[in-house]
Amino acid sequence: MNLHVANAKNVKGLATELWIESGKIVSQPTNGVVYEDIDANGLTLVPGLVDLHTHLREPGREDAETVLSGSQAAVAGGYTAISAMPNTFPVADTAGVVEQVFRLGEHHNLCDVFPIGAVTVGQDGKHLAELAAMYQSEAKVRIFSDDGHCVADPLVMRRALEYVKTFDGIIAQHAQDPRLTESAQMNEGVISAKLGLKGWPAVAEEAIIARDVLLAEHVDSRLHICHLTTAGGVEIVRNAKKRGIKVTAEVTPHHLLLTDDVVESYDSVYKVNPPLRTLKDVHALREGLADGTIDIIATDHAPHPQEAKDCEWNAAAFGMLGLETAFSIGYLTMVKSGLISLETLIERMSTKPAEIAQYLYHGKIAVGTKANFALIDLKAEWKVDRVRLHSKSRNTPFHEMVLPGMVMKTFHNGALVFDRKAKL
């Protein structure tokens, strides 16, 4: 199908239009070719968003999310590429499992689903998984993570960092010292002291980040820090970058907006790992994202069924939904607040993550590349309703919040994969 997207604005606010033939962007209309017109009047055209941290729960926990429902949530959030974390059942630690997830994504064909492989077998933290096999598979996995767990053993981390250099791979670390966070429930500080919930201290994150940037420097490998949450962590990454260490970092939308005082309600929808931190941390994260210390926003979209949250705080699962609200939260916290331009926000949510992960057909709108983009109504506001989200789960911490910026249409490889108007 051929498309003509007319009357749109680009991220700089300038008038723009797009000609698409057979899923690819062309510089100008070809004589004799028929184009379907998409009137994008009032909408802003952005490259499809790219998430490097998504939990899709398939295989194993299809009651919480599937590749299909996760893809639906993704395109409703303006994403055209997502990265499936390996903490499934079974763990995505073999070529077989990553290929299964990759093919499911292709089969549903709403957005690209790129699996992330486990660093260690069964995420046990001890034995390296067959990383090269996952790279050589159809899924061509380049990012590896034991997310949900930290690769805590320094030797295992060092070996993993070294090993993936053969194919320019990255180790994405969930930075959490396990001993310092045994049965930890929330950020350790004034609020945890008051609520009697076991603390998850900032130092447990920072100690691992500090160790890992030094390891990455020592073996000259690429390290990615998942969901940075502390002011101290931002400072360590900032210094590491100054020293030329190959480190990138992400921040989640929820850590850009929420602080640990919401836990006073004991509402386990706010239970997340790493935990919500303090206002000081939120400011440091926003500044870090603005100055490029933090490269990208990643959702850490973590669906859980109702029963995993409808219980005592201690017994509840960690995690929050993120895909469908990420752009709005980014827009609210970073652009509306005057810290960065829309252009920079899109760079942090699309261009840069695509670059880090080497997702070649994402992160840009350029002639000759596949047409992966979204149309966003920046002026629209919407009230989050957890029941109406596309995810199978409802654990959004933003329920009932009114957010700015509404994704109206999403196109994947030139095909319309999400149309908010059609949903209504």
């Binding site: 350790e188 609520l195 004991y266 409808d310 219980c311 005592e312 201690n314």
Partner: protein
């Protein structure tokens, strides 16, 4: 007031009203009124997910003296002790028409969750949730201090109370810090730094590491229970070392003012945080604390469920006698 989940639910006036009503109830109990008809036909459920015979019995006695129907629901060890079951239990109790649920649970915040609008319509009283709060214990402690040192009236302004031991894991300490300060007392926390929460400086209490230095300053000293398992988690090296530095014994008792009282929420580890002779000394009010617990819990149930005030009680009981 509908629920009592935290001391923060109470204003100073509320807290004093509970204490005044408890004074009145204990006086009337002494005058041979065994039972008050106030809660006749009302159902009070003791929902205990954690063993605590003394607290359960105290609440049960309080509810029965107010003529309530009491259902004891012990969920410990059954499939009901974790996970989603809290919600199911709440819905079941709701369906049974419970007017009040007294909940004891090992998870901080369990009482708050039970009280969520969608789950329970009746009153919820927190009888200890994890390492969070135990508001009725703090109320009975304040009652005991006020009875001994303030002749049952007014607030606690001018008094200094030491709370000694495992503050980090103590719901009794959290509720007491909030309530004692609300009533005007000064609180001094004494513990090794490992047993004080990060963030304790926001509590408005003094923090000291030397029990010997603090003892001469206080009007009441509250010894917290120290669980022997804490040693394995490296909170202190040995029981002996803990006891040597933070245990109350006769030698240390000599440092107390003559008028100062010794308290313990129980159950005690005699020989660890408190020596037997200190616990049984004439300055100890530990047995009184238990007795006062019933009056204070009657008062809480009375005010929460009866919707009455202390003055109503005076009038109605005078008429009834």
């Amino acid at each position: 007031m509908k629920n009592l989940l935290s001391i923060n639910d109470l204003s100073k006036a509320d807290a004093l009203e509970i204490l005044d009503t408890a004074v009145e109830l204990s006086r009337l109990s002494e005058n041979t009124v065994r039972k008050f008809p106030t809660l006749r036909g009302r159902t009070v459920v003791n929902l205990f997910f954690e063993d605590s015979t003394r607290t359960r019995i105290s609440f049960e006695a309080a509810a029965k003296r107010l003529s309530a129907d009491v259902i004891n629901f012990s969920a410990k060890g059954s499939s009901l002790s974790k996970g989603e079951s809290l919600k199911d239990t709440a819905l079941t109790l709701q369906a049974m028409g419970a007017d009040a649920v007294i909940i004891r649970h090992s998870a901080s915040g369990a009482a708050h969750q039970l009280a969520r609008q969608e789950w329970m319509k009746g009153s919820v009283i927190n009888a200890g949730d994890g390492t969070h709060e135990h508001p009725t214990q703090a109320l009975l402690d304040a009652f005991t201090i006020r009875r001994r040192l303030r002749a049952d009236s007014g607030d606690l302004t001018g008094l200094s109370v030491g709370i000694v031991g495992d503050v980090l894991h103590s719901r009794v300490a959290r509720s007491n810090v909030l309530l004692l300060q609300k009533l005007g007392a000064e609180v001094i926390l004494v513990a090794p730094p490992t047993l004080l929460p990060v963030g304790v400086d926001s509590w408005g209490a003094q923090v000291r590491y030397s029990l010997d230095d603090v003892l001469p300053l206080v009007d009441a000293v509250m010894m917290l229970r120290v669980q022997r398992e804490r040693m394995e988690d490296l909170f202190f090296p040995t029981e002996r070392e803990y006891s040597r530095n933070f245990g109350l014994n006769l030698e240390r008792m000599n440092r107390l003012k003559n008028t100062a009282i010794v308290m313990h929420p129980g159950p005690m580890n005699r020989g660890l945080e408190i020596s037997a002779d200190s616990a049984d000394s004439h300055q100890s009010v530990i047995v009184e604390q238990v007795a006062n617990g019933v009056s204070v819990r009657m008062s809480v149930l009375y005010l929460l469920l009866g919707g009455a005030t202390a003055r109503d009680l005076n009038l109605s009981s005078a008429g009834g006698m």
